[in-house]
């Protein structure tokens, strides 16, 4: 594993990665889980390197997770407050990128509300770019942390049946997870009303269901998605309570999954909309806080791996 060459300059999405790429990151993630559980959680892998967090969309957990990951590896971490920056003064996204690039960061973590925006920025900078979520496209570190969580709890992902439920249409988490779980050999199911199912989702290598009880039959893991109300222009759903009735995860619906099936959620949760509190806080079946813990570890793995691939300063572009 130590010798495996991760042949990517950036982490823009799960698409484009192969099984070995993913497994290498997960194994390194495992190592960092152990470090993070020690009293002194410090490594100097990234000592002297600069990590810039660039969040064009508000985020608490992902931004914090990357900050902690960077600091634990010894990097200098700067989070740019975009809300008050020159972007508001009309500077274009590319100008912002060029400006930051001139400050010579080594790693740039970007979240942006437009699909494809992180890829666009990655073409304009010399450092490694990590996609922390772009529009409704991809959120690769979320998929990796989910895979790490499942792997540590259940073991081999290959052959496992995983259901992803809720607002698939607006979810970058769903897109990255379908790709990641497919590569790792899981059987993926998507459960949503038609208005929240992307066109062509059946061609993603997932089975599509509109009936949640039917969809959950035989599932080992149930991933709930946040109902992205702020992304909805209009009425994709009649009401939150109707959504909860048909697609909210409660004990009754969960009983249709395999006995002991695990429950996951990328957060932040809308309790009582997509998930019942009793399930979200379930001591043995909910992996939701564990996902957050794995998030830091997997991001450390990603930062370390990409930092290794960064070109030497002054190297020909």
């Amino acid at each position: 594993m130590a010798d495996y060459a991760f042949s990517h300059r950036h982490l823009l999405g799960i698409e484009g990665l192969n099984r070995l790429d993913i497994e290498t990151l997960l194994e390194l993630g495992d190592k960092y889980v152990e470090l993070n559980r020690r009293r002194v959680k410090h490594a100097d892998t990234l000592a002297g390197r600069t990590l810039v967090n660039l969040f064009f969309e508000n985020s608490t957990r992902t931004q914090g997770s990357f900050e902690i990951a960077g600091r634990r590896l010894g990097a200098d971490v700067i989070t740019m407050p975009i809300a008050t920056s020159s972007v508001k003064k009309g500077e274009t996204l590319i100008d912002t990128a060029m400006t930051l690039n001139a400050m010579r960061p080594d790693l740039l973590v970007i979240r942006h509300g437009s699909s494809g925006a992180v890829k666009l920025l990655s073409r304009k900078v010399d450092c490694a770019v990590i996609n922390a979520g772009d529009g409704t496209h991809e959120h690769p570190t979320q998929a990796l942390l989910d895979a790490l969580t499942i792997r540590r709890r259940v073991g081999e992902i290959s052959g496992m049946r995983v259901a992803i439920c809720g607002d698939i249409l607006h979810s970058r988490v769903a897109r990255s997870n379908v790709a990641c779980l497919n590569i790792l050999g899981a059987q993926v199911r998507l459960i949503a009303p038609r208005t929240l199912t992307p066109p062509g989702a059946a061609d993603w290598g997932a089975e599509v269901f509109t009936d949640m009880r039917e969809g959950l039959e035989g599932c080992d893991v149930v991933m709930m998605l946040r109902l992205q109300q702020e992304r909805m222009d209009g009425a994709y759903l009649p009401s939150a309570r109707e959504f909860f009735h048909f697609y909210g995860l409660d004990a009754d619906k969960l009983n249709h999954a395999n006995p002991g099936a695990f429950v996951m959620h990328p957060g932040p949760m809308n309790r009582g909309v997509e998930i019942e509190s009793g399930i979200a806080d379930h001591k043995t079946r909910s992996l939701i806080t564990e996902q957050v813990e794995m998030g830091v570890a997997v991001r450390m793995a990603v930062l370390e791996t990409l930092a290794k691939n960064a070109p030497e300063p002054g190297a020909a572009k």
């Binding site: 699909s115 772009d134 066109p199 062509g200």
Partner: protein, 398 residues
């Protein structure tokens, strides 16, 4: 061109008559005196041009060009658009009324004509706004603007949503036998979208325009054309089903013509690829099945006009995340290369492939050009098809 000029040793392509023969054309004072196999270098003329066996066709006519003049000259002016047209073999084009101010009065039609006379190398005709300010509420002075020289009437890229307004405007336009062009679109379905709806857009996480946005508006337009009797140009149709709808209406006696953007014949939705903002256009690149159906329409001669849909945008409006980027791409210089490369690949005779950019649009507008006929204006394009088609790949880029 003054005096007598002969261009000889050319392969003449005249879609109006279906002629494809070796010969020449003889012109005097900018008008065709004669053309055909009998015209050779022995004809008496002041200027003799040896075409070296290259192809000579009527200069192209493009029914859909947007410039930024007046109002957004940083995008394109009549002069730069005409330079691009001349470079691409387009000798006549129609400018859309979506300018600032909108071309919706006699004075604005007059302004475009005078400006073009001063700066343009090619013939430029303005299209008149169908409604005042393209607001979709009140019809413009269709009769007067037509008299002033507007080629046709259209609301450009702002579809008339109110069917009552459209019905009355069409009905009124029919009194003057004016041509009404309408790009079928249903904003309720297409607003805030970036590309064709479907599996590929969903995978990219982009909002797509479903083809129903085009179908619904097109069926409405065809019905209103039927009941009002207006001559309708279904502008830039982009799907197989739209072409079938136009053909069906035409069979039923509706005076319906259709145009297709050259990019719709050349690209499909997958070409949007890695969020290429230069491929963000309206209507969007559709499926491969749609593209092939439109090419089949070209082969069968049921597409009246192929247009460049030329709509240049400044770099700063394109180098953005695709959702924020402007719609539009250049096309004047690549219209001919695009058609030639399709003709070569799909084995379509040139007299057929070039009809929608010559006699097809000329007939729609009642223009004398677009043909190698006696008395027609001496507007030609001379080209080497193999060399020209190699430029087609840059179609819609930049």
């Amino acid at each position: 061109m003054t005096g007598r000029t002969v261009i000889h040793n050319a392969r003449l392509i005249d879609p109006a008559t279906g002629r494809d023969e070796t010969g020449g054309v003889l012109t005097e004072n900018g008008v065709i005196l004669d053309s055909g196999s009998a015209i050779s270098k022995t004809v008496t003329a002041d200027v003799k041009i040896d075409a070296g066996g290259k192809m000579l066709a009527p200069g192209l006519i493009d029914l859909r060009v947007k410039t930024g003049e007046p109002g957004a000259e940083n995008k394109e002016t009549l002069q730069t658009a005409s330079d691009a047209a001349a470079a691409g073999g387009v000798t006549t084009f129609v400018v859309m009324p979506d300018t600032d101010p909108v071309i919706d009065t006699v004075a604005l039609v007059d302004f475009i004509q005078r400006r073009a006379e001063g700066v343009a190398k090619v013939k430029v005709y303005p299209a008149g706004g169908l409604t005042l300010g393209l607001d979709g509420a009140k019809m413009s002075e269709i009769g007067l603007i037509r008299e002033a020289g507007a080629a046709f009437f259209t609301n450009g890229d702002r579809p008339v949503e109110d069917a009552g307004v459209l019905r009355r405007a069409m009905s009124y336009a029919a009194s003057f036998d004016a041509l009404v062009a309408s790009r079928p679109d249903t904003p309720a379905l297409s607003k805030n979208t970036v590309m064709n709806a479907g599996a590929f857009a969903a995978r990219l996480g982009l909002r797509g325009t479903p083809p129903e946005a085009e179908w619904i508006a097109l069926e409405r337009d065809l019905m209103l054309a039927e009941t009002t009797g207006v001559r309708l140009l279904a502008d830039c149709i982009s799907t197989a089903r739209s072409l079938a709808a136009v053909e069906r209406a035409r069979k039923a006696g509706v005076k319906a013509a259709c145009s297709v953007a050259s990019y719709s014949l050349f690209f499909n939705e997958l070409d949007v690829g890695d969020y290429l903002t230069y491929c963000k256009v309206q209507p969007p690149f559709r499926t491969e099945a749609d593209r092939m159906a439109l090419i089949d329409g070209l082969k069968r001669g049921v597409i009246d006009a192929v247009v460049s849909a030329h709509d240049p945008q400044p770099t700063e409006d394109k180098r953005l995340p695709i959702a924020d980027a402007a719609f539009g791409a250049v096309g004047l210089e690549t219209l001919l290369p695009c058609l030639l490369s399709i003709a070569i690949r799909e084995d379509i005779p040139l007299v057929k492939a070039l009809r929608p950019v010559t006699s097809g649009p000329a007939d729609l507008l009642g223009l004398p050009q677009g043909r190698l006929a006696k008395g027609a204006p001496a507007d030609f394009v001379l080209f080497d098809p193999a060399a020209a088609s190699s430029k087609a790949g840059s179609c819609a880029h930049g």
